[in-house]
């Protein structure tokens, strides 16, 4: 097969699997929808984490902004369900991207682990403010409007929405990494001083790349809020201890700084997690902690890195 032939085959395989899944095994539609969300999470995290060298613990902030923006539009705009949802998702993506544009120049000037901690701080502030601010429901959260379709239709509808978003994200980052901007953020990751000395508009590129991640995360917020049905500031929107950390883990697990690594990491992580939940009642988090330690300590380059290393030693 030629190279393009293979990518066409891969694309068809993903499309068929993705489209058919809710019809083959309808009972896991929600979990599968979350799988696409996880892929989107780790792919977007890897834009700044793996490819740009800015390890963020706060990307969940943009997701949360998207969740709330969409919920507020749906609640207050008076539009019909689908129009409100569409406008809400747009608003969520825009609000998230805007906040990245505004925060970016200051935040992305902070390097290394200080950046990681500053972004962590950002997401904690957001979670606390969201649970104190009456207008957005404070700690009581917001309930998403009821889906007008048939039973089981809700899960399917949002499954396809998230599937489409995940595919869009994949295509977008693939295009991004091929462009000169991709080269630029890689250069920033490898040696930001050098990149500056060579005249790259480092701040501009960093902020732009972060905003793309934010845009996609913000767009994912609306569908997830509606899929879950009830928006809790700490457990869903700004869920730093779960989503916020998972996005990092999945990318690291699969192999950060690669195109397929985050995808593979997300699939393996999500499936493992579902299995833990089913079979290790109460102990699943213990297993999760152990798994994290093992991944980070023994497979620091992720699954892809591990495979590549085994190949080179075998050859």
């Amino acid at each position: 097969m030629t190279k393009s032939g293979r990518s066409v085959a891969a694309a068809i395989a993903v499309a068929v699997t993705g489209l058919a899944l809710p019809w083959i095994v309808p009972s896991i539609t929600t979990q599968a929808a979350f799988l696409w969300l996880m892929i989107l999470f780790s792919l977007t995290w890897d834009i700044n984490g793996g490819q740009m060298g800015y390890n963020s613990f706060g990307n969940v902030f943009f997701f949360g902004v998207g969740v709330y923006a969409c919920a507020l539009v749906q609640r207050d705009s008076g539009l019909s369900y689908y129009a409100g949802l569409g406008a809400g998702i747009g608003a969520g993506a825009l609000a998230a991207a805007l906040s990245a544009l505004v925060l970016g120049p200051a935040m992305l000037a902070i390097r290394g682990h200080y950046f990681a901690i500053a972004t962590l701080g950002l997401s904690i502030v957001a979670a606390n403010v969201a649970s104190a601010w009456e207008y957005i429901g404070a700690a009581s959260g917001i309930a998403a409007p009821l889906f007008p379709g048939a039973i089981g239709g809700r899960a399917k509808f949002f499954y396809y929405l998230l599937f489409a978003l995940a595919v869009l994200t994949f295509l977008l980052v693939r295009r991004l990494y091929r462009s000169r901007l991709g080269l630029a953020i890689n250069a920033i990751r490898d040696d930001e001083d050098k990149a500056e000395a060579m005249g790259l508009h480092t701040t501009r590129y960093k902020v732009f790349a972060w905003s793309i991640a934010a845009l996609l995360l913000g767009a994912a917020g609306g569908p997830v809020g509606n899929l879950v049905g009830f928006i809790d500031p700490n457990d869903l929107a700004f869920a730093g201890a779960t989503f916020g950390v998972w996005m990092v883990l999945m990318a690291v697990l699969g192999g950060k700084g690669t195109l397929w690594g985050p995808v593979i990491g997300a699939v393996v992580f999500h499936v493992t997690q579902e299995l833990f939940w089913t079979w290790l009642l109460g102990w699943q988090r213990v297993a999760m902690g152990l798994l994290i330690v093992v991944i980070v300590v023994f497979f620091p380059t992720g699954i892809l890195g591990w495979v590549a290393r085994r190949r080179t030693t075998a050859a």
Binding site: A109, H113, G121, I124, N128, V129, A132, I292, F298
Partner: protein, 299 residues
């Protein structure tokens, strides 16, 4: 803003807020010593810091239930955590020393989840407390109260800080630790067993956290999920104080305590945490802008 009026009407309350802020901050500072030590010597940011505090608290709690007073329980907690520290070092930490800092953050995050969930399974999530049996002191007609247990915490923070400095200055191990912090490779060339230095450093950190945990159980409460509170606050203290600045740690700790109390009073408790972390972000951004003035950046 009515809260500000209250404060203006009764300035004595300001004294109460500042004093208790300082005393509370001292316990954060205690945890921060260990973090600064591990960070400075091993270049590891330990996210499991708060979980060691929690474990120390449980040791003191179970000893107390078995009839052993916290006065004796706290040293035992320190000892137990020392052993936990050595064990953790040899199983996990030694494999991440020298790797990039992000690895250490993730690995210790894994340890923290592991420990808190194990605690939940083994000890249950019940809120536990240890009674100190210590009374409170009153000043200014009862408007200022200082629970003696807070004073104990403050004294412990100062004493541990002093001991730590003395240890690092005078003992052979302390000198080895300082040498390793300066330049690990050179230290190895000079015949220092850096592996042992790291193990000791990490274990000392755990011991300090263990002792702090005992104080936490006596002053507030312990439960499996309290770790992050202490990790984040000690992190913030270390950032503000700067690495390798042990006396700065206690000042920064006290400062943090005061700021939290004042923020809670003026803005309302619901914005207390948000304010503190907003401050963290502002400090990081601000320090960076300050450095950028000289065309430099924070690293």
């Amino acid at each position: 803003m009515s809260n500000l009026t209250v404060l203006a009407d009764a300035p004595v309350l300001l004294v109460q807020l500042v004093v208790s802020g300082i005393l509370v901050g001292a316990i954060f500072a205690l945890v921060a010593y260990g973090m600064a030590l591990v960070w400075g010597v091993m270049n590891i940011i330990n996210i499991a810091q708060g979980e060691f505090v929690m474990l120390g608290g449980y040791v003191v709690f179970f000893l107390d239930r078995a009839g052993i007073a916290p006065v004796f329980g706290i040293p035992v907690a320190a000892l137990v955590l020392y052993v936990v520290g050595v064990a953790l070092y040899h199983t996990v930490i030694r494999r991440i020393v020298g790797r990039d800092m992000f690895t250490s953050i993730l690995a210790t995050f894994g340890i923290s989840i592991l420990l808190q969930q194990l605690a939940n399974q083994l000890f249950s999530a019940d809120i536990r407390t240890v009674r100190s049996g210590l009374p409170s002191l009153f000043f200014a007609d009862g408007m200022i109260t200082i629970p003696e247990v807070n004073l104990v915490g403050f004294a412990a923070a100062v004493v541990v800080g002093a001991l730590l400095v003395a240890f690092l200055r005078t003992t052979r191990m302390g000198q080895a630790i300082r040498a390793t912090a300066q330049n690990a490779r050179a230290a190895r060339v000079l015949g220092i067993d850096t592996d042992r230095v790291y193990a000791t450093t990490f274990a000392i950190n755990c011991a300090i956290c263990g002792a702090a945990g005992g104080l936490v159980a006596m002053t507030w409460f312990i439960q499996p999920y309290l770790g992050l509170t202490y990790t984040l606050r000690s992190f913030m203290i270390v950032i503000v104080a700067g690495l390798g600045n042990l006396s700065g740690v206690i000042v920064a700790g006290a400062g943090l305590g005061v700021v939290e109390d004042l923020a809670g009073f003026v803005l309302g408790s619901e914005y207390q945490t948000a304010f503190v972390f907003m401050l963290l972000v502002v400090i990081l951004v601000g320090r960076n802008l300050w450095l950028a003035r000289e065309r430099r950046s924070l690293r």
